[in-house]
């Protein structure tokens, strides 16, 4: 059941920040609602303390996508459909488009928002792996100040982020990456539409004369939260791309995933799939 609620729709960011400032544990930001509303409906404990919802829909800066010299700024309440239709995002951050195009359905993508996806920090938040490989930064505001943090640090553990009750994510900042990077995103779910991801992987790579100059690898769903594999990345930088390297790095990735998840009943299924997927992704990217 949905409880008796107070729903507020401030028109200015500062008014929104005033409303959440008391940090009373009963006030939550509503940025879309495709998690919170069914969450209420099934009596999810995660939302049971909420009595007041503050909607972001009327606050202009939370809805714009704009280009700056070396970066693109995405308002935290930009919907997935808006991302997919944005020329800027298609040009500079194609993996993000690919990942969010596979989220839910048209109906969900028309409502669900980018920050809503990662503030919930469900392991299966599909926008996270691409945002991680693009080194996304999150701008967070409270009534008195603003801070910026890397998404990688912002996400703490499943369903938990650095965000305090008095704070709101205002924007996501993505630095434009050098055009020579190529990359790909892969999602495995149980059905094509509206499927919760089981495995997601995002990889971008920059090479010169068959040598890896830079590589960034991130997973979602299969790990407890979306995460980067920096050790493996560092290991690969400077190496020559050979079939053996693709095999050995896929094996390492599988092992790294096992290290974070521990052995589970599903490991025998998932680990080979991750290894194979990563191998295929690398192979495609390297052939580019």
């Amino acid at each position: 059941m949905i409880p008796e609620l107070k729903i507020l729709r401030p028109e200015k960011l500062i008014d929104l920040l005033d409303l959440i400032a008391p940090a009373d544990g009963a006030t939550r930001i509503l940025a879309g609602g495709t998690d919170i509303i069914p969450g209420f409906h099934i009596n999810s404990k995660r939302f049971s303390s909420i009595r007041k919802l503050v909607e972001t829909v009327k606050i202009p800066e939370m809805h714009e996508i704009k280009e700056e010299d070396d970066s693109v700024i995405i308002g935290s309440s930009v919907t997935f459909s808006e991302l997919i239709n944005s020329e800027l995002i298609n040009t500079y951050f194609p993996l993000l488009v690919k990942a969010v195009s596979k989220i839910g359905s048209v109906q969900i993508r028309n409502r669900a928002t980018i920050a809503g996806n990662f503030v919930n920090n469900a392991p299966c938040a599909d926008s996270v792996p691409p945002l991680l490989v693009y080194n996304a930064e999150v701008e967070i505001a409270n009534k008195n100040s603003t801070r910026k943090v890397l998404l990688n640090d912002f996400l703490e553990k499943p369903y938990k982020t650095q965000l305090k009750d008095s704070e709101c994510v205002v924007r996501i900042i993505l630095k434009k990456i050098d055009k020579t990077f190529t990359g790909d995103f892969y999602k495995l779910g149980r059905r094509r539409g509206v499927a919760i991801s089981r495995i997601t992987l995002a990889v971008i790579l920059k090479k010169e004369n068959n040598i890896i100059k830079d590589i960034r690898i991130a997973s979602g769903a299969v790990t407890p939260i979306g995460m980067r594999f920096t050790e493996l990345e560092n290991d690969l930088i400077g190496k020559e791309i050979t079939p053996e390297l693709l095999v050995s790095s896929s094996q390492k990735l599988g092992k790294n995933v096992l290290d974070v998840t521990g052995l589970r009943w599903s490991s025998v299924y998932k680990v080979p799939v991750i290894q194979r997927t990563f191998y295929n992704l690398l192979e495609n990217i390297c052939l580019d």
Partner: protein, 161 residues
């Protein structure tokens, strides 16, 4: 709380309980029962309506969130006393069996056709990927949408000829 919005082309105001979802308000307060509730969690699409021209699941929107918006339900799709071409094509192509998914299917495909008058089969499939049908096997639905696109393009050509 009081909200004002446009419902099937008409301006309306209503005092609505904060715990009501858009689907509850449509069905209970406006008695528009064409919008169906299947899963309540955004998976089946039976509750699809258009909000400012975009397909949304009315089980995932609170009534309070539509203040100022424009809502189209299946009751607003027909043209006067006549079915729209899309509705008629659903009938002639056998795209309606039990009918439970039909309102949602029609609204999802209407949103597509409004934005994209010449959709490919793949685009049609994507537009209804969030709508489940237990009866038809989807093929008839895709054909009905395709036929509607062809009809309206033909009409345009006739007009300009």
């Amino acid at each position: 709380m009081k909200i004002t919005f446009k419902l099937n082309g008409e301006n309306v105001s209503i005092e609505v309980e904060s715990y009501k979802r858009l689907i509850d308000m449509l069905r209970e307060d406006f008695e528009l029962t064409g919008t169906k509730e299947g899963c309540s969690i955004g998976e089946c699409g039976a509750c699809t309506v258009l909000m400012d021209g975009k397909a949304v699941n009315s089980c995932l929107v609170l009534a309070a969130q539509i203040d100022g918006a424009e809502i189209l339900t299946i009751e607003g799709v027909n043209q006067g006393n006549n079915l729209s071409d899309l509705q008629r094509n659903f009938l002639t192509h056998g795209a309606v069996q039990c009918g439970f998914c039909t309102p949602g299917m029609i609204l999802s495909s209407l949103a597509l056709l409004n934005e994209n008058p010449n959709p490919t089969v793949e685009e049609i499939e994507e537009s209804i990927a969030g709508n489940l049908c237990r009866c038809t096997g989807y093929k008839q639905i895709i054909e009905a949408v395709k036929a509607t696109a062809e009809m309206s393009n033909q009409k345009l050509r006739n007009q300009s000829a």
